[in-house]
């Protein structure tokens, strides 16, 4: 089943948040946005959070309102991973991949309370205008191309009809390799599809890691859904490839990314048939799938400071406003402007003074 590392992530992120905050915030911070309490889980959210939000004019992301509801857990990601928290984006069944494996997220309860319009729109009676025409699901045979994370929507390709992984590789080289590289290494500036880079960089200025199928993608179904839907770029959902061919390409990309099919780390052989079953097997072993969690923004909960703000909110995060980074300089030391701008004419306020 799904190899979730969610509780580990929670701990790790909390730790990194605390560390990051220590970097960014001075120790004399009082009442500001500190992650000092982030590790603590109270587990008891104010049950009357609706009233609290209402009493405060709907300000559900106001620091003080949140403290009233969450206590000191305002900044705690770990707390937000608890689906019972009114600020959590998580849905119960995504914690372990759920009964169907397809992770769900939701809009936090605290957010929904203030816009009751969705509920109103749902409840209001409605009688059809009869402006449309009925259509049968079967009429969508060609349009319906979704294959979701649970594997709903696979085309009917039997084991006998299916191509081998090797054949899939040939099709890939013929239709995809010129842009994505024969082995998924990328070409001509187009995205690579199989580069196994570490997702953690040591210096924050380092180039961002390449995120490809093996090291990043949480679902194998997405390879098929997207390739058939949108690739090859100049001729998507190509009949020359067909469902069998797209299955073959998908299996080849699973092989190229070294995605296992079971606990024994079995990987695809060239002679294996590229069927939906094979891809669903890989779908459970995507290397990075356990590292995703629901968006928990906003990540900061500051108070609106007006005068003599604490150092962590000023300049470089340590109170120094002269410690900044600049864009590249021209040889004579003047800042580089990336386009021809009218730097020495057109005073601001005269004409549009664009560039």
């Amino acid at each position: 089943m799904f190899s979730t590392k969610k509780s580990l992530i929670a701990a790790a992120v909390v730790a990194s948040m605390a560390a990051g905050s220590a970097l960014a915030m001075s120790s004399n911070d009082k009442g500001g946005d500190t992650a000092a309490a982030a590790g603590k889980i109270e587990g008891k959210w104010a049950a009357n959070y609706r009233e609290i939000i209402k009493e405060n004019g709907g300000k559900y992301l106001d620091r003080e309102v949140m403290e009233k509801i969450l206590g000191s857990d305002v900044n705690s990601l770990r707390a937000k991973l608890d689906p019972n928290n009114p600020y959590s984006f998580e849905v119960d069944d995504s914690i372990d991949g759920g009964p169907h494996g397809n992770a769900q997220c939701k809009v936090p309860k605290a957010f929904v309370e203030v816009w009751d319009s969705a509920e109103k729109n749902e409840k209001a009676d409605y009688i059809a205008n009869k402006f449309g025409k009925p259509i049968a699901e079967s009429a969508l045979k060609i349009w319906e191309i979704n294959v979701d994370g649970d594997g709903n929507g696979w085309p009917n390709v039997s084991e006998e009809e299916a191509v081998t992984v090797e054949k899939g590789g040939n099709i890939y080289v013929q239709f995809c390799g010129m842009c994505h590289g024969e082995f998924g290494e990328g070409a001509k500036g187009y995205l690579p599809l199989a580069v196994d880079e570490d997702l953690v960089t040591s210096d924050f200025r380092d180039p961002a890691p390449m995120k490809t199928i093996g090291n990043y993608w949480p679902y194998a179904t997405t390879i098929f859904d997207y390739s058939r839907r949108a690739m090859p770029f100049w001729s998507p959902n190509s009949p020359a490839i067909g469902d069998k061919g797209y299955l073959g390409i998908t299996a080849y990309l699973i092989q190229a990314n070294g995605i296992p099919l079971d606990d024994e780390d079995t990987t695809l052989d060239d002679s294996d048939k590229a069927t939906a079953q094979v891809i669903m097997a890989a779908n459970k072993y995507m290397k990075n799938q356990g590292n995703f969690f629901c968006d928990h923004r906003p990540v900061t909960h500051n108070k609106r400071c007006m005068k003599d703000c604490p150092d962590y909110l000023v300049g470089d995060g340590a109170g120094n406003i002269h410690h900044y980074r600049q864009a590249r300089r021209l040889p004579d030391g003047t800042p580089q402007y990336n386009v021809n701008q009218r730097l020495h004419e057109a005073p601001p306020g005269v004409g549009h003074a664009g560039f």
Binding site: A12, S16, G20, A24, D33, N56, L61, R63, V107, F111, V112, E122, Y126, N129, K133, P134, I135, E137, L140, W143, N146, G149, K188, Y190, V200, Y216, P218, T221, T222, D225, Y226, R229, A230, F233, P236, N237, N291, F292, C294, D295, V299, R304, D308, L313, V314, G317, I321, Y324, R325, Q326, A327, P335, Q336, N338, Q341, L343, P348, H352, G354, F355
Partner: protein
């Protein structure tokens, strides 16, 4: 007797006494913050002499004004341009792209020149473009929208059918979540067009999505997601939770009073107010109602955010509150010490903008700006604040607080939590450094990052 604060102001603007007047200011009643001077408008009654006092000592123009050539001959007649175009003198106000961002113009982006815009509406021709498979050229007569899945009665509509429904018109900002992405690792570019141009704000007209879903008899007990899909080469899709779909989404056929442009999804697109522009599926042809999300490439490989520890955030929907000073900004140059009306835009994906504060000293002290435009839900809001620049180095920042009480963070704070490999949602403040008037690049305005 003139108000002595006005006198001081006259003094500060006359070249020879700049330094003395600065001292006078420091002693006087005006608030001083980081070498930045603020004066309150005099509360006394209007006095024409006092009003023009700041011009005292300025050299008068005596040369007679000449007629321009357009005074001596007729201009062009009506219907020279059946569809009007901007003055040729505005030719520099353009959408622009950075070639190095993408290998292909069919999967690319252009940015809106927001440094040259006024008010809160983006003209259709300057609306930013984001394509994943080029702009489709669709004949609206053949275009169809299907609603199916967890509904009682799957239905198909023509564009004309949709126009028969009750209509709504709303002004909303639309922002690519990658807006500002190039600035995660430091400063790259000296223009608001590059730092914030992956967004626009227009008036949309269309049909409520909740009406369309109910027209087809959506099964609310089972439905949890809608999966919209485009008719173009990218077949764009996202999974949108029902709470958002039933809230304030609509299917738009018009933008700023005319039909959508092809670049924005002609003939119809989805409008998902306050949320990532990628969810606003263009060339909309199909909405499938489901109980599980699709896990489309655009919500797994892309539009998910890598955190510093290697974990990733998924299903990011709302655009956080954000703001930027558009004037003065790196596209301009200060014209000397004196008075400026600092302007900019603020917006929030979660509702209305409540406050915008401006700092001239890198975030130490803040001054509340006022709004010069209507304050609308999930729309650009224009702010302005008076500033008497004394010519010394300044660090300009704007900070929005929205109606939910969320306060826009500074960059070091956001970086500490989100790292710099995130790509999307870089919604922390930016800083414009104004070079001291008497320095080498005096008056230059530079994008710097803390």
């Amino acid at each position: 007797m003139t108000d002595n604060r006005v006198e001081e102001k006259v003094a500060v603007q006359s070249e020879e006494s700049r330094s003395q007047s600065r001292r006078a200011f420091l002693k006087g009643s005006a608030a001083v913050a980081g070498g930045v001077l603020f004066t309150k408008a005099a509360s006394a009654d209007y006095d024409p002499k006092k009003a023009v006092a700041p011009y005292a000592g300025e050299k008068e123009i005596t040369e007679p004004l000449q007629d321009g050539p357009w005074r001596k001959r007729l201009g062009f007649g009506v219907r020279r341009y059946p569809y009007g175009v901007p003055s040729p003198y505005e030719k520099d106000v353009q959408r622009r792209t950075l070639e190095w961002l993408t290998p292909d113009s069919m999967a690319s982006i252009t940015m809106t020149p927001i440094q040259s815009l006024h008010g809160i509406i983006t003209p259709n021709g300057l609306h930013f473009e984001r394509f994943h498979g080029g702009a489709a050229d669709i004949d609206p007569k053949t275009h169809r929208l299907v609603i199916h899945g967890l509904v009682e009665r799957p239905l198909i509509f023509t564009v004309d059918d949709l126009k028969r429904f009750p209509s709504i018109s709303r002004i909303h900002f639309i922002e690519c979540p990658a807006n500002g992405a190039m600035e995660w690792k430091g400063v790259q570019l000296n223009s608001v067009q590059w730092t914030h141009g992956m967004m626009s704000c227009v008036e949309y007209t269309g049909v409520r999505l909740s009406d369309l879903l109910k027209e087809a008899g959506i099964k609310l007990d089972k439905a949890r997601w809608i999966i919209p899909e485009g008719a173009d080469a990218s077949g764009m899709s996202r999974s949108i939770p029902l709470e958002i779909a039933m809230d304030d989404c609509f299917v738009a056929y018009a933008q700023n009073g005319e039909a959508l442009r092809r670049e924005q999804g002609y003939p119809i697109r989805l409008v998902v107010p306050g949320c990532e522009a990628n969810m606003w599926v263009k060339y909309l042809r199909r909405i499938k109602v489901t109980d599980v999300p699709l896990q489309h490439r655009e919500e797994t490989s892309k539009y998910t955010e890598l955190m510093p520890d290697g974990t990733a955030q998924r299903f990011s929907w709302y655009m956080e509150p954000n703001s930027v000073i558009t004037y003065p900004s790196p596209d301009y140059r200060m014209q000397g010490p004196g008075k400026y009306y600092v302007r900019g835009l603020a917006w929030s994906g979660r509702g209305k903008v409540a406050h915008v504060d401006v700092s001239f000293d890198g975030g130490k002290n803040w001054h509340e700006a006022h709004f010069t435009s209507p304050v609308l839900d999930k729309a650009w809001t224009r702010f302005e604040i008076e500033w008497d620049w004394d010519g010394s180095e300044a660090f300009l920042m704007s900070r929005v607080t929205d109606e939910t009480g969320y306060v826009q963070p500074p960059m070091p704070q956001m970086r500490a939590v989100e790292g710099t490999n995130n790509v999307y949602h870089r919604t922390a403040m930016v800083t414009w450094r104004v070079h001291a008037w008497d320095s080498k690049n005096g008056g230059l305005i530079e994008n710097v990052q803390y």
